[in-house]
Amino acid sequence: MASTEDVVNQDQFDGIPKEKLLEILRSMLMSRRFEEKTAESYQVGKIGGFCHLYIGQEAVATGAISALREDDYVITAYRDHAQALVRGMSPRKVMAELYGRIDGCSGGAGGSMHMFDKDINFMGGHGIVGTHLPIATGVGYAIRYRQTDQVCLCFFGDSVVNGGPFHEAFNMTAKWELPVVYIVENNSYGMGTDIDRVAAVDELFLRACAYQGKRAEQVDGQDVLAVHAAVKRAVVRAREEKRPTFIEAQTYRYLGHSMSDPAHGVYRTREEVAQERERDPINTFVDQLTDAGVITDEQVEEIDQQVIAEVEDAAEFAENSAVPGPEEIYRNVYSDEYRGGADGRDAWR
């Protein structure tokens, strides 16, 4: 527990200790700087495959994960760098994974879309839209099965609300009262499709009306403290009452859907992107902290420099990590000695 001196008294921070506020700021900066570096490395071909950046959405992952306990679980989709970092995965492990190296969190097997770290209950990193929601329901089931007071936090994108897995997962989670907090990162678009063009519902959180027992609320996803407060409430509800909650965080993606996609393009205008950048979650939070005298601009700059240095170190580490060799090919297909069809069937390698 934080000692009283650290507690910032302005109610706007509803009693969050100063150290925690700085940790939140640091996490958002880390996520931002890390992905700026990621984009750079991708452009020069050090990172391959599909790579989805979270820039602009940092407040959602940071506000939410910072409301968890160490033994809680986190699971998300393929836009997963920020969640991994905020949850506490070392930037080195994340960057090495992006570089496809042996020291990556998944040994270079998963890449950008599949970050996993069992030590911190970070359960990935899933590439098929919506299919990790039932997996989160299963984690919630296991928690109740074992009668612990853990919680599972599940992030997903707006377009998920139109798919079958969302419906089946929400129904079971609500019916069996599983401690899962579902949070939709509503950045208004699924790739190039405006959610309003494909969802027969005005506000996504309204979908919860079809699952009694599941509470829902909408929150400004660019306000890290608002997200934090909403998730904190939901986590308490899950931990103590074993009830699921569905939170809609309204946020915005600054860059293209993936590295191979232009920042705007036919589906949104340059102006819209520029305007959304005005309510940048990091700047907003920095202003809030400096206005309240919690921190000075110099101190922010200092943290930022530390973060940038850590990101550079991560990139260098990744650069120097070994490329996986042939002996890795069959290693993790099965957890026992069975090696798949290897026998004779691939004699020509």
Binding site: H114, P134, G138, Y145, H167, E168, N171, Y338
Partner: protein
């Protein structure tokens, strides 16, 4: 030794493993109050309670995914599909989530889960309810696929599947549930991926699995009686790992092979057997390997046609006579 049905063997395997390990639980449609659509889970709800024997909504993809999540954090779910025909809706959860998790997490999250239920045709269930999924799942690295033909193998393989640390697709025979057979008393485990000689013979090798093992054995008896041809019947028992060692050995001895499966011909299990046998025993073969499979059509409802679509002992006998140059 006790004489029990295939259904009782599966029920015993579930009960023994649930008693042995509190992390093992069963979920699926009608598995609880109803004792299972085919009564495989009879009595388990009363013995273990609703958290360990969970009746689910009709949401195959959802509860299969739920199982994957529970398995990732250390439980050992046994997911029952009322039949494998309905698992087509859960194909993504099985193939994209369960089978790939261990690999794509770099060996961090293994998925100790069993997906089980009856496969193949039964009696006049028509096109949507009479399918053999074996080749699709056998094709997928990350999965293991068991297809027991006898009560003893059903018991021993299901227990091994539940203890296995990787996802296992366990395909039972919808028409085998009432088949009786001897099972050893006490703990009986059958290793996954080890074939078995169900009948010894020196003249021709019949390689098959699941329900067709019984068809092969009937054919073999008739062949011995009517044509003095002694067929060796090899039961693969699992189609992934696909243990073709015994079959190849046998063919080196008999020089003739017929591969038999209930499913459709193109890219079936039999095709893989032909590939393995001709590669490893090419010089031993006195004749091309003959394949017998279900006919390449969606199953008809009319009994008159269903009989002709599923391989029968007569079909197998014709194939054997062909490879033995007796036709």
């Amino acid at each position: 030794m006790a004489l029990i049905t295939y259904r009782e063997a599966l029920n015993r395997a579930l009960r023994e493993e649930m008693e042995r390990d509190e992390n093992v639980f069963l979920l699926g449609e009608e598995v609880g109050e109803y004792d299972g659509a085919y009564k495989v889970s009879k009595g388990l709800l009363d013995e273990f309670g609703e958290w360990r024997v969970r009746d689910t909504p009709i949401a195959e993809n959802g509860f299969a995914g739920l199982g994957v999540g529970a398995a990732m954090v250390g439980l050992r779910p046994v997911v029952e599909f009322m039949t494998w025909n309905f698992a087509l809706l859960a194909f993504d959860a099985i193939v994209n989530s369960a089978a790939k998790m261990y690999a794509m997490s770099g060996g961090q999250y293994n998925v100790p889960i069993v997906f089980r239920g009856p496969g193949g045709s039964a009696l006049q269930l028509s096109a949507q309810h009479s399918q053999v999924p074996d080749p699709w799942y056998a094709n997928i690295p990350g999965l293991k696929v068991c297809t027991p033909a006898t009560p003893a193998d059903a018991l021993g393989l299901l227990k091994s599947a539940i203890r296995d640390n990787d996802p296992v697709v366990f395909i039972e025979g919808e028409l085998l549930y009432n088949v009786k057979g001897e099972v050893p008393d006490g703990e009986h485990l059958v290793p996954i991926g080890v074939a078995d000689v169900k009948r010894a013979g020196a003249d021709v090798t019949i390689v098959t699995h699941a329900k067709m093992v019984h068809v092969a054995l009937q054919a073999a008896d008739q062949l011995a009686k009517e044509f003095e041809v002694e067929a060796e019947v090899i039961d693969l028992r699992c189609v992934r790992p696909l243990d073709t060692g015994l079959a190849i050995e046998s063919v080196r001895k008999t020089n003739r092979a017929v591969v038999l499966e209930e499913g459709w011909p193109i890219a079936g299990i039999g095709a893989q057997l032909v590939d393995d046998i001709q590669r490893e025993a090419f010089d031993a073969l006195d004749a091309p390997i003959a394949r017998v499979s279900g006919l390449d059509v969606p199953m008809h409802y009319a009994r008159s046609l269903e009989k002709l679509i599923v391989p029968s002992p007569e079909t197998v006998i014709r194939a054997v006579k062909h490879v033995c140059y007796l036709d």
